[in-house]
Amino acid sequence: MNRRQRYEARQRRRSGLIATASTLIVLAAIYLLIPLAPGWERVKASFFNWDVFARTFPTLLEAFLLDIAIFLWSAPIIAVLGLLIALCRAVQSPALFPLRIFGALYVDIFRGIPVVLVIYLVGFGVPGLGLPRPWNSPYIWGTVALVLTYSPYVAEILRSGIESIHQSQRAAAISLGLSERDTMRYVILPQAIRRVVPANMNIFIALQKDVALLSFIGPVEILRQAGIFKSLLANFTPYVAAAVIFLAITIPATRYADYLMARERNARG
């Protein structure tokens, strides 16, 4: 080891010791102080009851499959619609001007309303028209609400991706005699989509969580199932169990998105 490496090793040891010590102090404080709170025993019994956790977990996991199913059929629709809106807004042709206006309006409106509100309005409002089965299904209108809310975000991210592709790529493509359409399809879009995959992953992680909001209009998915257990057992632990199940999906997905994003940054560095 040369002089510099010895110095750096010493520094690393020092930082490691400080980090360990401060973490231990914080953990000890949490462990010692929280039980001192006057309501701790009650919170422990109603939120962290191991028996309730073990009894409700399998059913909750099963209910979570419904969340996953809703996610799996909503996500592709959102991706396709988002792409269409982004293209409407990126295309310069005057014939498509109405579509461009529509794209802009759509994005403004549905980005500006809370998800829950869209779910209530669409989920209760449209079946209220007295449609026959199966067209009054909360699954259909819940999905529509999610699609309406999420495709504008995907569209905006894609549009930023399209605009981030350097002008010189377009110049190269059209000076080869390619049409605007082929230039978009074969040169601009593939690069733009690749560039915004990480950002879109974050949107889809948020979608996975917001699927639970459909519980407000009927489907017995995990959040509603946890609510049923709460009423049945007079205990909040099922909510904690539901949170654990969500985290098991979202933490790895978020980490993966962060990894992709870092890689994209380095590649462009």
Partner: protein, 253 residues
């Protein structure tokens, strides 16, 4: 070269002007380029060389004046520029390869999409071009796996795959490391031997002097002086040309 005198005019410009905002970049350019001729545009940065090239294939719409290809006015507003751009290839300073495609797919894209040919139809042609310019082993690599000189050669092949009648080169060696310049200039020499009609904006004075049929010195949006390379380099007439050449030649020699 007596036959050169009778070569028909391939590309002609008449009174071409172009402004970006309040700044007039081209102030009335008249030019005739004969079939098979190699013309070098020289001049300081910002003199309008690049803009002039980009106006020749109408990548930049011109404000006023005319551009003729084989005697036909191609600057008439409303023409289908795709048909014209297929006949005039251009290669850029920064290569502008499509980074998400292999070298081969870069070359095949335009013949397949714009000329509606099948992959099988255009493949032999493309392979022959890669082989001819020393890139047979690199056809399936992606641009970021190639050196600057190799990328620029792929960009030339990509333009040639459309079988253009005129080739424009916009300072294609300026972004290259010095040791890679020669391999790209070699391509130009080969194309010249083929009789390709070419217009180059370049800072390679030695190359312009040795290879060009004609050199045009541009400054501030006008062609100040033009003539055979020997005449321009050895015996410039105008003060601006003298000052420019004195500056660059001192650096390059």
């Amino acid at each position: 070269m007596p036959e050169a005198e009778f070569s028909p005019v391939k590309l002609a410009l008449k009174g071409v002007t172009k402004s970006f905002g309040p700044h007039q970049v081209l102030k009335g350019i008249d030019m005739e380029i004969a079939a098979g001729e190699m013309v070098c545009l020289i001049g300081p940065s910002g003199s309008g060389k690049s803009t002039l090239l980009r106006c020749m294939n109408l990548l930049e719409p011109i404000d006023d004046g005319y551009v003729y290809l084989d005697g036909a006015d191609i600057s008439e507003p409303g023409l289908d520029l795709r048909l014209i751009r297929r006949r005039i290839g251009i290669v850029f300073q920064a290569f502008n390869l499509f980074p998400h495609m292999s070298a081969m797919d870069n070359v095949l894209l335009a013949p397949r999409r714009a000329l509606r040919k099948s992959r099988e139809e255009v493949m032999p042609d493309a392979e022959a071009l890669f082989a001819r310019f020393g890139l047979a082993d690199h056809m399936n690599k992606f641009p970021d796996q190639l050196s600057g000189g190799q990328q620029q050669r792929v960009a030339v092949i990509r333009a040639l795959a459309m079988r253009p009648e005129v080739m424009l080169f916009d300072e294609i060696t300026s972004a290259l490391d010095p040791e890679l310049v020669e391999e790209v200039l070699d391509i130009l020499r080969q194309l010249r031997a083929d009789g390709m009609t070419m217009v180059l904006a370049t800072h390679e004075m030695q190359f312009a002097r040795e290879a060009a049929d004609r050199v045009c010195f541009m400054d501030d949006g006008v062609i100040v002086e033009e003539g055979a390379p020997e005449a321009i380099f050895a015996n410039p007439q105008r003060e601006r040309t003298k000052a420019f050449l004195k500056g660059v030649l001192r650096r390059q020699v």
